[in-house]
C-alpha cells in the first residue's frame, strides 16, 4: 500500500535502541575503574540523532508500517521530537550532576535511552498490543531509574511503590485491551474505531474503554490515580524526576488522545463528563495538597498533578456541538510541550540547588538563592512564573489554549474552576519564589549550603529549557502550527462511516 520501507517508520526508535545497546556494550567492555561519564555523551549524541531522524520523518507520507501497527504522522513526530528533546535535556542534566563515583552509570544512561524508545513507540503505535509493549518498555525503565539511589531509604521505596502501583495500572490497561478485543475481534486502533459503534456487546466496549482510561490516567498521574506521584518524585533522583514527570506523561497523553479521539469517539458523551470531573479533581487535589508541602519536590509532584488537570481541561473541550474539535487536540499537544519545558527547567535548577544527595530539599533551603547564585535564583523565579501562568511564558499559553478549548467546548465552568485553581497554585509557587528573593537568614546557614556549580552540560540543559519556555510564550506560532498539523493527522472519527461497515476500505493508508 505504501512504498516506504517499514524500518523508516520506526527510525528514531531504532537509533535509540542502537544507542542504548552500544552504551551497554561499551560499559561492559570498559575496565571497572574508568569513569563512565562519556557514556552520557554517547547517549546525548544518539538522542540528538533520533531528534533529527524524527524531523526527517516529516518528509515521509503519513501512514503505518509493520502491518499497520506503527504510524508516522505529524502527530507522532511532534511527540517524538518533544520526548527526545526532554530526554536530551535530562541526559545533559545527569551528566553534570551524577557524582563521578556513582554505581552503574552505564545502565543509568542506557535505561534513559531505552525508556525513550518505549515512550516514542507509544506515541506511534496504532495497535493495542504494541501500545502495551511500548508502555511496558518505558515503564520498566522508569521503575528502575526511580530507585537508582539505592543506598538511600527513599530510593527503593519509590521504586517499589511505583512498580507495584504501575504494574497494577498496566494490568488495567491490558484488561481493557483484552475486553476491547473480545468485543471487536481486533487490536488495530482504526479497526476498533470502525467496529466499536456497531459491536454486539456494547457493555464489553464500555468496560474496555473504562479500564484503558484507568491505566492511562494513572500514568499521567491524574486524581484519583495520583497517590504514587509525591512519594516517587521525592525518592527518585532529581534528573530522573525531570524526565519522568514530563516525557512518559507526554507519551501517555498522546495515547489518551488516541484512545478518546481515535478509538472511542462514539463514546464521547461518556468520557467528556468523566474527564471533566477528573480534570477538576486533579487540579483541586493537586493544588490543595501542594499548598501544604515543605519539600520542594513533593510540592512540584502535587503541582504536576494539577497540571495534568489543566491539560485534561482541553480534553473536556474535545467534543463541541460541531463535532470533535481539532484545536482542542492541538491545545493538549501544546500544553504537554509547554509543561515539559518549564518543568524540566525547574527540576534542573532544583537538582543543582539541592544536590544529588538532596541534603537541602526544603523550601526554606532556597532562602536567599537569588543572592547565593543570582543566575539560578533568576531562573528558578522565571520557571515558577511560567508555572503560575504569567503571560509571555510557555505556561501561560499552555493554559490559554487549554482553557480556550474548554470554553469552546462549552465547559465554561471548568475554565473558571481551572483559572481560579491557578490562582490557588500561585500561592505556593509564589511562596517559593519569594523565599528565593528573600534575604538569607544569617551567615551560618548561608555558608552551610554550598554554592551550586553550573557546568557546561547543565548550562546547555538550562539554556534549552529557558529558550523553549520563552519561545513557547512569545512566539509559539511555529509550535502551535506543528501541534495543529499533528491534530489534523489523527484519523478523523469514523462516526459517519460507521453504519456501513463492511463496504469501507480499511482506514489505514
Amino acid at each position: 500500500m505504501n512504498s516506504v520501507p517499514d524500518i523508516f517508520r520506526i527510525l528514531p526508535e531504532v537509533i535509540l535502541t542502537l544507542t542504548g545497546a552500544a552504551i551497554m556494550l561499551i560499559d561492559a567492555s570498559l575496565p571497572p575503574t574508568t569513569p563512565r561519564r562519556s557514556l552520557g555523551w554517547v547517549a546525548a549524541i544518539g538522542t540528538t540523532i533520533a531528534i533529527w531522524a524524527s524531523v526527517w520523518q516529516l518528509s515521509l507520507p503519513q501512514g503505518a508500517g509493520f502491518y499497520g501497527t506503527v504510524e508516522t504522522s505529524a502527530f507522532t513526530i511532534f511527540f517524538h521530537v518533544l520526548i527526545c528533546g526532554i530526554v536530551l535535556v535530562a541526559l545533559l542534566l545527569s551528566l553534570d550532576t551524577l557524582p563521578e563515583d556513582s554505581h552503574h552509570q552505564g545502565e543509568y544512561y542506557a535505561l534513559i535511552v531505552f525508556g525513550a524508545v518505549g515512550m516514542c513507540l507509544l506515541t506511534g503505535a496504532v495497535e493495542l498490543l504494541v501500545v502495551f509493549i511500548a508502555l511496558e518498555i518505558s515503564s520498566i525503565a522508569t521503575y528502575v531509574l526511580a530507585g537508582y539511589r539505592k543506598n538511600t531509604a527513599r530510593g527503593p521505596e519509590a521504586a517499589i511503590k511505583y512498580f507495584l502501583l504501575g504494574s497494577f495500572a498496566t494490568a488495567f490497561l491490558l484488561y481493557g485491551v483484552a475486553l476491547t478485543f473480545g468485543a471487536t475481534g481486533t487490536t488495530q486502533i482504526y479497526e476498533i474505531a470502525r467496529l466499536a459503534p456497531t459491536a454486539r456487546n456494547h457493555s464489553l466496549i464500555l468496560a474496555g474503554a473504562a479500564l484503558m482510561l484507568v491505566g492511562i490516567l494513572f500514568k499521567v498521574s491524574a486524581a484519583p490515580f495520583h497517590l504514587w506521584t509525591p512519594d516517587v518524585y521525592e525518592g527518585a533522583p532529581s534528573p530522573v524526576v525531570a524526565l519522568m514527570s514530563t516525557a512518559p506523561k507526554a507519551a501517555a497523553f498522546a495515547l489518551l488522545l488516541r484512545v478518546v479521539y481515535e478509538i472511542f469517539p462514539s463514546l464521547h458523551a461518556l468520557w467528556t463528563p468523566l474527564l471533566w470531573v477528573i480534570a477538576v479533581l486533579s487540579m483541586t487535589v493537586g493544588n490543595l495538597a501542594a499548598l501544604r508541602q515543605e519539600n520542594v519536590k513533593r510540592m512540584l509532584a502535587y503541582s504536576s498533578i494539577a497540571h495534568a488537570g489543566y491539560l485534561l481541561a482541553a480534553f473536556a473541550g474535545l467534543s463541541t456541538p460541531d463535532g470533535i474539535s481539532t484545536s482542542a487536540i492541538a491545545a493538549a499537544c501544546f500544553y504537554t510541550a509547554a509543561y515539559a519545558a518549564m518543568n524540566v527547567g525547574i527540576f534542573a535548577v532544583i537538582t543543582l540547588v539541592s544536590g544529588y544527595e538532596e541534603k537541602h530539599p526544603f523550601v526554606q533551603d532556597f532562602r536567599g538563592l537569588l543572592f547565593r547564585s543570582p543566575l539560578l535564583g533568576t531562573l528558578l523565579i522565571f520557571f515558577l512564573v511560567s508555572l503560575v501562568g504569567i503571560p509571555f511564558t510557555g505556561g501561560f499559553f499552555g493554559k490559554f489554549y487549554s482553557f480556550t478549548a474548554a470554553v469552546g467546548g462549552g465547559a465554561v465552568w471548568l475554565a473558571i474552576i481551572g483559572l481560579l485553581n491557578s490562582g490557588l497554585a500561585a500561592a505556593y509557587y509564589l511562596r517559593l519564589a519569594l523565599v528565593t528573593a528573600q534575604q538569607p537568614q544569617n551567615d551560618e546557614s548561608h555558608a552551610a549550603i554550598p554554592r551550586p556549580h553550573v557546568g557546561l552540560a547543565v548550562g546547555a540543559a538550562l539554556m534549552f529549557a529557558v529558550a523553549a519556555t520563552l519561545i513557547l510564550g512569545i512566539a509559539p506560532g511555529e509550535i502551535l502550527h506543528a501541534a495543529d498539523n499533528g491534530a489534523h493527522t489523527l484519523q478523523a472519527p469514523p462516526q459517519a462511516a460507521a453504519p456501513t461497515v463492511t463496504a469501507d476500505p480499511p482506514p489505514v493508508q
Binding site: 481560579l420 500561585a426 519569594l434 528573600q438
Partner: protein
C-alpha cells in the same frame, strides 16, 4: 516623522526592556545600574512626550497604530494581534507613566543600596508592562501586560519590604491574580464566540447585540471585578495598606489607581456600556462609601504609609464616582483626576520616603517640629498637601470640582453631599498630618538626628512636580481637549450616546 509615528509605541515598549537587559548585564559598580535606569526612563519619558506633541486632535480616534498578526491560533480560528494605539483617553496616562519612571529612579537613588541590578531591571520591566496596558488594543495583548505588571511588583515588594515584605507581596499578588482568572475566562468566552480579540471589533459586535444578554452580563461583571480589585474599590481594598507600607517608594507610587481606572473606562464602560450602566448605581454607592471610609480611616492612622493608603482609597473612590456617574464631564474629570493623583501621590511618596530614609520610622507620633529644621521639605510637603486637599488653583481642585458638580447635577444630590463630606475629611487628615510632623514641639527622634534637608536631587524632582500641580490647576485646557475626546463614546456605540446624560452646567459641549 512618519516612520517615528509608525514605530513609536513599539519603541516605547522596547526601550525599558532593553534598559532592563542592559542593567542585568553590567556590573553593579559606581551606581552604573542607577544611571542606566535613569537614562532609559528619561528616554521613555521623551518618547511618551512625543505622543501628545504629534497626536492629531482634529482627526481623533486611535493614532500611532500598529496592527500586526502575532500568533495564529490555528487554521480556522483567529489570531492574537500585536495591536497598539493611543487615543485621547490613554494619551496622557502614557505620559504620566513615563513621567513617574525617572522620578521613581531618582527616589530610589540612595534608598536602594543593595542588589541594585535586580531592582532596576525589574523596575524597568514594570515600566514596559504599564505602558503595554495603556496602549494595547488587543484583549489578549492587554491581558498579557496586565498580568505581567504583577510579577516585578510582587518580587520587589518581597525583596525590599520594610517589615514583612513577602506577606504583603503575597497578598498583593493573590488579590490581583485571582480576580483576573474570571477576566481571562470572560475574554476567552468572547473569543470563542467571535474568533477575535480585537477591541474595536468586539466593541462593535457587542453594540450590535451579537451576544446573548445573559452571559454578557457575567462577562461584563468579570471584567469589572478584576478592575475593581486593582483600583481598588471598597470593599476590595484589603491589599492596599500593606502594599503601600511595604513597597519601595518608586513602585508604591504606581501600585494603585491608574491601571485599574483606565481599564474600567476602556474595557468595562468601553465594551459593555449597557451592563456598566446597569451596575452604575451600585458602583456610585460603593465609591461614596469608599470616599468616606478611606478618609475616616486615614484620620486615625498612626503610620503615614497607611494614612497615605487610605487617603488614596478615598481619592480613587472619587475617581470611580466620576467614571460611573456616566456624565461626560464626570468622566473627563475622572481621567484628569487620575493624572492628578499620579502626580500628587508621586510627590508625597518621594517626600515621605525621604523622611523614612532619614528617620527610619513611619510612625507619625515619632515626628514633630520638623519645619524649623527642614524648611524646604516642609514647604514642598505643604504645597503637595494643599494640592491634594483640593485648594483652588491647584490641580486636584479641577478634577474634584468636575466630578462633584457633574454628580450633583447628573446623578444624585445626596450622594454628592456625602462625597463632598469625604473631601472635607480629606483636608482634615492632611492638615493634621502636617501639623503632627512639621509643627509642634521638636520630638526626641527629630532632635537626635542632624538636620539634612532635601538635596538637589530631590529638589530636581519635586519642584517640577509642584509647578506641574499649579499649571494643571490653572490651565487644565492644555489637557482637556484630548481627554474630552477620549471619553466621548464611540460614534458607532449607539446605545451609549443615549445613555450619557447631558451635563446641564458645564463648560464642555454635551454629546449630540
Amino acid at each position: 516623522m512618519d516612520t517615528i509615528n509608525q514605530s513609536i509605541l513599539t519603541l516605547l515598549l522596547l526601550v525599558p526592556l532593553a534598559g532592563a537587559l542592559l542593567v542585568a548585564l553590567v556590573p553593579d559598580r559606581a551606581k552604573l545600574p542607577n544611571w542606566i535606569a535613569l537614562f532609559t526612563s528619561l528616554i521613555g519619558f521623551g518618547l511618551a512626550l512625543h505622543l501628545p506633541a504629534h497626536y492629531d486632535l482634529a482627526q481623533g480616534g486611535f493614532q500611532f497604530v500598529i496592527n500586526q498578526a502575532w500568533i495564529s491560533l490555528g487554521a480556522n480560528s483567529g489570531s492574537i494581534y500585536y495591536h497598539v494605539g493611543v487615543d485621547g483617553l490613554s494619551l496622557w496616562l502614557v505620559v504620566l507613566t513615563g513621567l513617574l519612571a525617572p522620578i521613581g529612579v531618582i527616589a530610589s537613588w540612595n534608598a536602594i543600596t543593595e542588589r541594585r541590578k535586580i531592582f532596576f531591571a525589574l523596575f524597568l520591566v514594570q515600566q514596559t508592562a504599564m505602558f503595554g496596558v495603556f496602549v494595547s488594543l488587543d484583549l489578549m495583548l492587554y491581558y498579557g501586560f496586565w498580568e505581567l505588571s504583577l510579577v516585578p511588583m510582587s518580587i520587589l515588594i518581597a525583596m525590599y519590604g520594610r517589615k514583612d515584605g513577602p506577606k504583603a507581596a503575597m497578598k498583593f499578588f493573590l488579590f490581583t491574580f485571582i480576580p483576573s482568572a474570571p477576566l481571562l475566562v470572560a475574554i476567552l468566552w468572547l473569543y470563542t464566540k467571535t474568533h477575535t480579540f480585537d477591541f474595536a471589533t468586539l466593541q462593535l459586535l457587542i453594540a450590535n447585540g451579537h451576544f446573548p444578554a445573559g452571559p454578557l452580563c457575567w462577562v461584563a461583571f468579570a471584567f469589572l471585578f478584576a478592575f475593581a480589585v486593582k483600583v481598588p474599590v471598597f470593599p476590595l481594598h484589603g491589599w492596599l495598606a500593606d502594599s503601600y507600607s511595604e513597597a519601595p517608594v518608586a513602585l508604591a507610587m504606581v501600585i494603585a489607581g491608574k491601571l485599574g481606572l483606565y481599564s474600567m473606562l476602556r474595557f468595562h464602560i468601553g465594551l459593555f456600556p449597557e451592563q456598566a450602566k446597569a451596575l452604575a448605581p451600585y458602583l456610585v454607592a460603593l465609591a461614596v462609601i469608599g470616599i468616606l471610609y478611606g478618609a475616616s480611616l486615614a484620620l486615625v492612622q498612626k503610620d503615614f504609609w497607611r494614612l497615605l493608603a487610605f487617603a488614596s482609597l478615598g481619592h480613587l473612590s472619587l475617581i470611580v464616582l466620576g467614571i460611573y456617574g456616566f456624565t461626560l464631564t464626570g468622566s473627563a474629570g475622572a481621567v484628569y483626576q487620575i493624572l492628578n493623583h499620579g502626580v500628587i501621590d508621586g510627590a508625597l511618596f518621594v517626600l515621605l520616603g525621604y523622611l523614612y530614609d532619614h528617620y527610619s520610622t513611619s510612625e507619625i507620633g515619632a515626628y514633630g517640629g520638623l519645619a524649623a529644621k527642614l524648611p524646604r521639605t516642609a514647604t514642598l510637603f505643604v504645597i503637595t498637601s494643599l494640592a491634594m486637599i483640593g485648594l483652588p488653583l491647584l490641580n486636584n481642585f479641577v478634577g474634584e470640582f468636575l466630578i462633584l458638580s457633574s454628580t450633583f447635577t447628573g446623578v444624585s444630590r445626596s450622594w454628592t453631599v456625602a462625597a463632598a463630606l469625604g473631601v472635607i475629611l480629606g483636608a482634615a487628615y492632611m492638615l493634621w498630618l502636617i501639623q503632627r510632623i512639621f509643627y509642634g514641639t521638636e520630638s526626641a527622634l527629630v532632635a537626635s538626628k542632624p538636620a539634612s534637608d532635601l538635596s538637589l536631587r530631590e529638589l530636581i524632582v519635586l519642584w517640577p512636580l509642584a509647578v506641574l500641580m499649579l499649571v494643571m490647576g490653572v490651565a487644565p485646557s492644555l489637557w482637556f481637549p484630548a481627554i474630552e475626546q477620549g471619553v466621548r463614546p464611540h460614534p458607532q456605540h449607539v446605545q451609549f450616546i443615549d445613555l450619557v446624560k447631558t451635563p446641564s452646567t458645564s463648560e464642555m459641549e454635551g454629546p449630540r
